[in-house]
Symmetry: C2
Subunit: 407 residues, 2 copies
């Protein structure tokens, strides 16, 4: 774990409350890191439903394959996550290690292996030691305890690789007694040799697995799928949501909107924390696109701006280089009316009707660029749909982290 | 123009021969740069056919719009290119400047305005001075002369923006007396505030406009469309091919393959020179993908690797970080069989059958990484189609050029 914390980090880790039914444990299994916890267990009670979304990579890791195979059952009893080795591109031997890990946890907890969900994050292409993990698991299981604030922070710490701070978030479920708590890791879509964005969200509300999956997919679409650091996609990206049903909050057709809102709140907070921990980041950037033909088009245009290395380097230099925003809108491949395009940097109207606005002040735009939070808004003038994507700037720090780390 | 030349630049500008019928002139119009030529005229005789391809940007520049409008006529008499101002995102006033430029050149040459082709490269969003250009054009026209070696180099110099060297190439047309000569500019898909990849290719062979367009599109697909520096696309990218028909070489159905080959040879040479001048480049990288489902799939996978900032920063660090290649194959979204994937770095077999090869030597792979020319080959194991994409590494130099230039 880096000792230099991102300048965009929150002041402190949030105080996360218990989630009824969730027990946590962490320990140092020594898979790669020395002197820190690198293994996390979350145990959940019988009746817990589970939903998830995974990387779209065609080279997905063994634990992702394991989770995808078992997610359809909709039932979970445990989550085991290790940091230091991604167990990706390790063939059938790697898959056997994941299976062995699930079996070991299932045995120690007295549950079915198929109800144990797994993630691994770290080096790609190195076989992970199965004995090292399976030997650790009985001690991990024995040490589990209800998730209090200290345990949540320890859990968020144990899954870090190059993250410069631990990431957590909480939201009540509307006016009910239920709550949603989440932890995540990620710093760069994939960090130096150590892949991955991971997020685990727990609620004590009760929801059927089908409903939970539907709400999860919708919330991920508007949170984790709307961030980008470098446009790269890990072999191991995983979001899992567990609903223990241990509170009095029953989610059905009539009230599912409150859980949907809470999930989105927690996921968006975690997603933005990942951007704030983007490799080398000095600016937190929101890109809002309006006036698009569809939500998908709005998102693609926003992502084209947010992924453009030229836009990102300009922002790093605090340069209100709006010509590069025009370029990125143009290359997105989605409908946009050049002659009705409107661009704002912060509150400053930079361009409208396809030309520079007559009252545009580069001085005012540059003043906005010196803030740590940059807001870019673009109306593409062809429809009514909108989307916002969050990203960070591209700095020498990114090159240092990704090119310099072996030197 | 930069005084520091790319370490990947050719030893010198090639000695380009005349192309029968082509006259050139350059001059300093002072549109933005001081003390250098920034305006190019190429005049071609009556009967010259023309073909072209342009940026796919939805925010294309005024000269691109002008060229697209007139290309269908298939006839050309002149090309006028300026450096320093892109005349992009300048609305109807900008289009009027392009139209005025074409009219001025047409008047001075005694030809139709619609047969004058235009490009502008430089700052986006600033209106270009029409009087400055139109006042210069009569002198430019008066000064034109048959294209000898010195004139070709002066032409390639006049269209440079942040290019660190002038780019030219020549090829005979098979065993005929015809030849193909080309010049280009580009350094980064779009350079600091100064957009664009431009290439102009001239042949003294005779070919119908339809045939020339078909051969041009095919050659561009396998050359300029197979390079990437930063994945960004300019508002002004333009390739124009002029066939004067002044040699004895008549191209028809039976012999069109020889012109196709020559066009591809010249375009591929120019395209690779642009990569060699990529902003901050220290490595020239070829990414070959085989075993893909279709050529399009092979190209998209190769481009995913070539555009990945994590792959590019690893290469800058001379790090044989093949896990990132796996990641980039996975994220391409095209069919790839993870468990049949084969990866080579230079001659070294890194991975096969979805795992690290048992005899892989990181020492040998690293030795290859220290060369200025890096070869990555990936077989994705699902088909028979192939594609190669060329790119450069991502270094501190890129950030310096793109983030540092206003500081």
């Amino acid at each position: 774990m880096s000792t230099i914390v991102s300048p965009l980090a929150p002041a402190s880790f949030p105080r996360l409350p218990p989630v009824a039914g969730v027990e946590l444990a962490t320990m140092a299994a020594g898979l790669r890191y020395k002197g820190r916890d690198d293994l996390l267990l979350a145990a959940v009670p019988a009746g817990t439903t589970v939903a998830g979304t995974f990387t779209t990579s065609r080279c997905s890791s063994a634990p992702v394959d394991w989770c995808k195979k078992n997610l359809g059952r909709g039932e979970a009893r445990a989550l085991v996550v290790n940091a230091g080795n991604a167990n990706a591109f390790t063939g059938s031997a790697g898959y056997a290690v994941s299976e062995g890990t699930a079996r070991a946890a299932a045995r120690a907890l007295g549950v079915e292996p198929e109800s144990v969900f797994l993630s691994s994050t770290g080096v790609i292409g190195e076989l992970m030691s199965e004995p090292a993990i399976t030997a650790a698991i009985p001690r991990l299981v024995a040490g589990r305890a209800p998730a209090d604030a200290g345990a949540w922070e320890a859990a968020a710490d144990a899954i870090r690789t190059t993250d410069t701070f631990a990431k957590g978030s909480v939201s009540p479920v509307g006016a009910t007694d239920g709550r949603v708590v989440g932890i995540a890791k990620g710093s760069g879509m994939i960090a130096p040799d150590m892949a991955t964005m991971l997020a685990y969200v727990f609620t004590d509300a009760a929801a059927s697995a089908d409903r939970l999956q539907r709400l999860t997919t919708a919330a991920v679409t508007r949170s984790f799928n709307r961030i980008t650091v470098d446009g790269d996609t890990s072999t191991s990206d995983t979001v899992l949501v567990f609903a223990t049903g241990c509170s009095d909050t029953e989610i059905d057709e009539a009230n599912e909107a409150v859980l949907a809102d809470s999930l989105e709140t927690v996921m968006l907070d975690l997603a933005q924390q990942i951007v704030r921990d983007g490799e080398g980041a000095t600016k937190f950037i929101s890109v809002e696109v309006t006036g698009a033909e569809s939500t998908r088009a709005a998102e693609r245009i926003a992502r084209s701006i947010a992924d453009s290395p030229l836009v990102k380097t300009a922002i790093a230099a605090e340069d209100a280089n709006w010509g590069r925003i025009v370029m990125a809108v143009g290359k997105a491949g989605e409908a946009a009316d050049r002659d009705r395009l409107q661009i704002r940097i912060g509150d400053e109207l930079v361009a409208s009707h396809g030309v520079k606005h007559p009252e545009y002040s580069e001085e005012r735009a540059t003043r906005h660029m010196t803030q740590p939070r940059i807001e870019i808004s673009v109306d593409v003038g062809v429809g009514t749909h909108t989307a916002t994507v969050w990203t960070c700037d591209l700095t020498h720090g990114y090159i240092d982290i990704n090119a310099g780390y072996r030197s």
